[in-house]
């Protein structure tokens, strides 16, 4: 693919990113950061792609570390994000759908 096509994709991705992420509420900013940590773990692909053709001990060594780093990002990032998001709960009374809302307490 030529550079200009790639730059086109890059710029469009930037706008999509801005558009989508500016709608994320403050409440979820920490999970958002850890989710994006997981997503940039995609550099793992670079390591996977290069390690086969790479020659020499040093290159292999560098790339194994890079793959390990990328994996830490991906696996750790998605897990920790899930752990966090699991904790975000609505008020029990508002969790509609599972039956009639409890009668308004008045005492």
């Amino acid at each position: 693919m030529d550079l200009l096509t790639e730059l086109t994709i890059l710029v469009l991705a930037a706008f999509v990113g801005f558009e989508v992420i500016s709608k994320v509420p403050n409440t979820l900013h920490t999970p958002l950061m850890s989710a994006t940590n997981a997503i940039h773990g995609i550099v793992l692909l670079g390591g996977l792609y290069l390690i086969g053709p790479a020659d020499g001990f040093l290159n292999d060594f560098l790339l194994v570390i890079a793959i390990a780093f990328g994996t830490i990002n991906v696996v750790g990032g998605f897990l920790v994000t899930d752990r966090m998001l699991e904790m975000f709960k609505q008020k029990p009374s508002v969790r509609g759908g599972d039956g009639p809302p409890p009668p308004a307490g008045r005492d």
């Binding site: 790639e6 999509v16 989508v20 900013h29 940590n37 997503i39 773990g41 692909l45």
Partner: protein, 469 residues
């Protein structure tokens, strides 16, 4: 046989990449509500799985032993870390993960450059420039994140560390990076120069985070997040990999948005933040003047009475809540008050804590429903109708000097207007000034009383008193 060639068809692999990045966008889209966010995260993980499998299908990929080794190491480190990290330690964790990503990019770009040198002359400029960019930003991000981690983990002192001539050193280091990069791009084939770039960028990463104080960490972490994303996108340009380009850029956009939001919430320009912290004490014009001013200190029994007979209580948490790990105790107190018909909500300042959304995660961990967490703009109009504002381990984000004292260093920073509540109770460890070293007129206000002690112990005592009422 036919199946194998089909699976290895470059167009098929590229299509899988398109599916992968589409799923990332869906992931981020679902992040816009707590109800859907968890599903989004799973979808993102599926996208990542597809991207990894697609890459492994590429014909030239080999050395599976080493790939398994790398993935095994990464899993062995990442899974236990993600499982065991405490919610209070989340900023450190995010900093560390960030650094690891930047490090991976720097290593990949170095290996890629070495490979291309071994194969022949310098690669084409449209590959070489992204490689150099990825190397610089990746290395800065790796080392900067490690320093941020060190500060948050309190291995390094959290206060700003100022070195003489710092800004000139930083500019010099950046010049070295760019100069060497231009030399390589204009035809010099030198691994040594590439190493100089990596090292200079590493020192730069250290130098630019060291002078930044703990309270500015939300901005730093966000910016490093953006850097790592951009470096990954650059690596994608170098490797002609669309999934990397899009995913990296999405992260770059996310980090940039957060950086701007955080800087805005502190009313400081990003340049100003990177010049170094608030000087850490010393100059506190307009507020301090060294005079002893009277404060009203109170006791748990009194606080309990005030809270229990209030109609509306707003809790304003800060970093002190995280340090004291008081989130569960605060939640217990709120539950007890709600039983008595008190309306309790939480006022969350965007830069309370050490990273964007830090307080929300802590309170979510303590089972506080997210609809009780109010953002600054939403809660500020409610303070005049609030009977008691309970400030727990927050200081600068409640400092009325930011609103009223034109020569205060934090003047113009949006704050939680807790001082407009009928009564303010501040839980504080001691009379020390906040992180920024700026005196807080809130503590001397007529409607303010202070309860000294560790936040968790204080809340526990208050809770006990409320229960006995």
């Amino acid at each position: 046989m036919y199946m194998a060639t089909f699976l290895q068809d470059p167009d098929f692999i590229r299509s899988l990449y398109i599916v992968a990045f589409a799923l990332f966008i869906v992931d981020l889209r679902l992040m816009n509500h707590p109800r859907t966010a968890r599903k989004g995260n799973v979808i993102g993980a599926i996208g990542m799985g597809i991207a990894v499998i697609a890459t492994l299908l590429i014909g030239s990929v080999g050395d599976y032993g080493l790939i398994v080794l790398g993935i095994a190491i990464g899993t062995a480190v990442g899974v236990p870390a993600a499982r065991s990290v405490k919610m209070t330690a989340m900023p450190q964790m995010v900093a560390l993960f960030n650094g690891v990503g930047g490090g991976a990019v720097a290593l990949i770009s170095f290996a890629d450059y070495r490979e291309s040198l071994a194969a022949g002359p310098n690669p084409e400029l449209d590959t070489l420039i992204p490689i150099l960019f990825a190397a610089i930003i990746g290395s800065v991000s790796f080392w900067g994140s490690n320093i941020a981690f060190g500060k948050l983990q309190e291995i390094l002192p959290g206060r700003p560390i100022q070195l003489p001539g710092q800004q000139f050193v930083n500019i010099g280091l950046l010049a070295v990076c760019v100069g060497c990069a231009i030399a390589i791009a204009s035809g010099t084939e030198s691994e040594a120069l590439f190493i100089v770039i990596l090292v200079a960028a590493a020192v730069l990463g250290n130098m630019f985070v060291l002078p930044i104080g703990g309270a500015d960490m939300p901005v730093v972490i966000s910016l490093l997040n953006a850097f790592t994303g951009l470096s990954a996108a650059a690596a994608g340009l170098a490797l002609d990999n669309v999934a990397l380009i899009v995913a990296g850029m999405l992260v770059g956009a996310s980090g940039s948005i957060l950086t701007m939001l955080m800087a805005e919430a502190m009313n400081r320009s990003i340049a100003n933040i990177f010049k170094g912290g608030f000087g850490g004490g010393g100059a506190a014009p307009g507020a301090g003047d060294g005079e002893e001013k009277p404060v009203r200190s109170t006791d748990p029994a009194d606080v309990a009475i005030q809270l229990a007979y209030a109609r509306k209580v707003v809790v304003a948490p800060g970093y002190g809540l995280a340090v004291a790990q008081a989130q569960h105790t605060v939640r217990d107190l709120a539950t007890e008050l709600e039983k008595r018909g008190v309306e309790v909500s939480y006022a969350i300042h965007p830069v309370a804590g050490r990273m964007p959304g830090h307080m929300n995660v802590l309170l979510a961990e303590a089972d506080v429903p997210y609809d009780q967490l109010k953002e600054m703009d939403e809660i500020n109009p409610e303070f005049p109708q609030t009977d008691v504002a309970l400030v727990i381990g927050a200081n600068d984000v409640t400092n009325p000097a930011a609103r009223d004292v034109a020569d205060s260093p934090i003047y113009g920073m949006p704050i939680l207007d807790v001082d407009k509540a009928a009564a303010v109770i501040v839980l504080k460890r001691s009379m020390n000034t906040g992180f920024a070293g700026i005196d807080n007129p809130l503590f001397y206000a007529e409607n303010t009383s202070l309860l000294f002690g560790d936040a968790k112990e204080s809340v526990q005592k208050v809770l006990k008193e409320v229960e006995e009422l």
